[in-house]
């Protein structure tokens, strides 16, 4: 075989790999998804069974069945259960938002924070702590979420200026610029006041500790709406990935699609950040893994993100609860520690997970 033939064969193999990912058919993708769901199910059980307070498995089961009382029941029902729910919802939201933003910007290194959502939430919380002495997790929610929404609205408005409208590159630049301004202001205010500095230090780490039902329940409709809007964007994103002209020829209204994606990302990341603070790497890494497994079809990528996002965050939260007992390591630190090496490996296999 000639060298040119080998290169051609290699190129074809890579192109094929990009098209299909690790799985060659929809039935394989469905099987993979079921396997991921099984892993998630096991992790959820583990998340309820283990924690910084050692507890026998039968006690955990008794507590779940309503037969335990006292501290055992409280730890399982009031701490581990809501925390596991928070981890799952946060994980799926960040992963889904990451897939959307990467598809919209056609940039595999785009992070959900690129639209300024995290910066808006952080700035609003700094204002809340400085002016209203906030310090409780449920209080943070009601500043972080509106802050995230407002920041994205401003980014979208700035990114829409000009004849081209809200192009991905304009949105990205506007998001990065506004994010830098808001982060700078937040940092300035944080350094002005030791109390704000102390409280922001905890929030910035990204944590699920102390997030009870009172934090997660009010935001459930927001998460659900975000997932719904994201689902509506999946098929059009596939068409748009073929190029603007071809996408338009296939009936995709690009302006509407971009607005749809921005709304979904804002709802998902705004709510997730309001619950747990900024948790890095999930929105960046999980879509890569999903693309690596299923190829570039956004519908499959999103389905996988719905499962793999929770897998990563629940696993990271379990690790964080066990490594520094009797205290805990915030989940944001663990996702960064777990996520960075995985991302490096994935980036080295760039062609397999490229858009």
């Amino acid at each position: 075989m000639a060298a040119g033939d080998i290169l051609t064969a290699e190129g074809q193999r890579e192109a094929e790999e990009r098209r299909s990912g690790l799985t060659a058919s929809n039935s394989q993708r469905a099987l993979g998804l079921l396997a991921a769901l099984a892993v998630l199910f096991l992790l959820v059980l583990l998340s309820i069974a283990v924690g910084s307070r050692p507890m026998p498995l039968n006690t955990v089961i008794e507590a779940l069945l309503g037969r335990a009382s006292g501290n055992d029941a409280v730890v399982v029902l009031n701490l581990r259960l809501p925390r596991t729910v928070s981890a799952m919802i946060t994980g799926l939201s960040l992963a889904l938002a990451g897939a959307l933003i990467q598809a919209l910007t056609r940039n595999p290194l785009a992070d959900p924070g690129v639209l300024g959502v995290n910066a808006g939430a952080a700035f609003a919380i700094v204002i809340g702590i400085s002016l209203f002495d906030l310090g409780a997790a449920y209080q943070y929610v009601w500043f972080a979420f509106p802050g995230a929404i407002l920041a994205t609205l401003v980014v979208y408005r700035i990114g829409s200026l000009g004849r081209a409208g809200a192009t991905p590159i304009q949105l990205t630049l506007a998001g990065i610029a506004l994010g830098a301004v808001l982060n700078g202001l937040a940092l300035g205010l944080t350094l002005l006041d030791p109390d704000v500095f102390d409280r922001m230090r905890g929030w910035n780490a990204g944590s699920l500790a102390g997030r009870g039902y009172e934090v997660i329940l009010p935001l459930l409709p927001i998460f659900a709406l975000g997932v719904l809007v994201a689902g509506l964007a999946a098929a059009p994103l596939n068409a748009a990935a073929l190029g603007e002209d071809l996408g338009a020829a296939l009936g995709v209204n690009l302006a509407h699609l971009r607005a749809l994606v921005v709304v979904a990302v804002t709802l998902l990341v705004g709510a997730a950040t309001a619950v747990a603070g900024p948790i890095g790497f999930v929105g960046l890494m999980v879509p890569h893994v999903a693309r690596w497994i299923v190829g570039p079809d956004q519908r499959w990528i999103m389905l996988y993100c719905l499962v793999l996002g929770p897998v990563l965050v629940v696993a990271a939260d379990i690790v964080g609860r066990l490594v520094v007992q009797p205290a805990e390591l915030p989940v944001g630190i663990v996702t960064a520690l777990l996520g960075a090496p995985v991302l490096i490996v994935l980036v080295r296999r760039r062609k397999a997970s490229a858009l």
Binding site: V74, R80, L191, D193, R199, S207, G210, Q325, P326
Partner: protein, 311 residues
């Protein structure tokens, strides 16, 4: 009218300069937690980069010429210090502003940036106060070092004597209660991250001095690196399980700390046996800067004891 001759005026000026110079040149070496420091015999222009040194100075009757930022809600001495310029907004120290105030002695902390400390030492002698690490719990030693540096040891001893007398009074007044009760102390600064304070902590030394016995479970948590033990919400219940009375932090103005207040609404808190029995009480600010904070703790402890004893 008598006009002094030029010669006598020059002599007078020279004598004054010599006298001033000799006063300025007089120094002494004091021992601090972080080694000996040569300081002026009688420092006149003092700067504190953190409130942990400002409060002791004010209590000892000395006002600094520059101070680290503090808010009105967190100091009982606002009327006395509100006009003193802030040379640090919490983390960074404005070294230029420090230099402009021409201090002859600076108090800083062992959390300050080493490079900034080196810059401060170019301006004036710097006494570093230990608020992290092994010296964290020893609040009286911090105040003593400050008193020594500003020649206010008699004033320090008076405050110390008053505190000890008050502790003894509580011990005597509530001897029967103290003999049968035990206590645990916690706070929550960051949601989901409670901290338990053992008898070796800052507040622990004040409370045990007044006769408080600490419950065994929280005492067993004491770590070699410190008496303030970080826990999780899961493990807090076990740390307080055998405590007959649970004490929690409040701000110096009596207001609730928001994270602690949120935790007090939780099922975890309600499940703590002492809380369920109605035996949880506010105790005060758990980072002790000086005697005002210590006395605030005793005020609250006395209220708790009165409540327990039904007095």
């Amino acid at each position: 009218m008598h006009i002094p001759s030029l010669r006598s005026a020059v002599y007078g000026l020279a004598a004054a300069l010599l006298l001033t110079g000799s006063v300025m040149a007089q120094t002494r070496t004091i021992e601090t937690t972080f080694g000996p420091v040569e300081i002026p015999e009688n420092p006149q222009r003092i700067i504190t980069t953190h409130y942990i040194a400002t409060q002791p100075l004010v209590e000892l009757g000395v006002l600094p010429v520059g101070q680290g930022r503090i808010d009105e809600a967190n100091t009982p001495f606002w009327d006395q210090i509100s006009d003193i310029p802030f040379i640090s907004e919490g983390v960074e120290i404005n070294v230029e502003q420090v230099a402009a105030l021409q201090p002859d002695l600076i108090f800083s902390i062992n959390l300050a940036d080493e490079q900034q400390l080196a810059q401060l030492r170019e301006i004036a002698p710097v006494i570093v106060i230990g608020i992290r690490g092994a010296d964290r719990s020893n609040w009286q030693n911090r105040v003593h070092q400050i008193a020594d540096a500003v020649n206010k040891l008699p004033e320090y001893e008076e405050l110390e004597t008053q505190l000890a007398a008050r502790q003894q009074q509580i011990k005597t007044d509530y001897a029967d209660v103290l003999a049968n009760e035990n206590f645990s102390v916690f706070s929550v600064w960051t949601p989901g991250q409670p901290v338990v304070f053992t008898s070796e902590s800052m507040s622990g030394k004040i409370l045990t001095g007044a006769g408080a016995q600490y419950a065994p479970a929280s005492e067993a948590l004491a770590l070699p690196e410190g008496a303030d033990v970080n826990l999780s919400e899961e493990t807090l219940g076990d740390a307080l399980v055998d405590s007959k009375n649970v004490l929690y932090n409040i701000n110096l103005d009596g207001s609730d700390n928001p994270a602690t207040a949120e935790f007090k609404q939780s099922a975890v808190y309600e499940a703590i046996p002492a809380v369920a029995a109605g035996r949880s009480f506010p105790i005060g600010k758990l980072t002790i800067a000086g005697f005002a904070d210590a006395n605030f703790i005793l005020d609250n402890f006395e209220k708790a004891l009165a409540n327990i004893s039904g007095k």
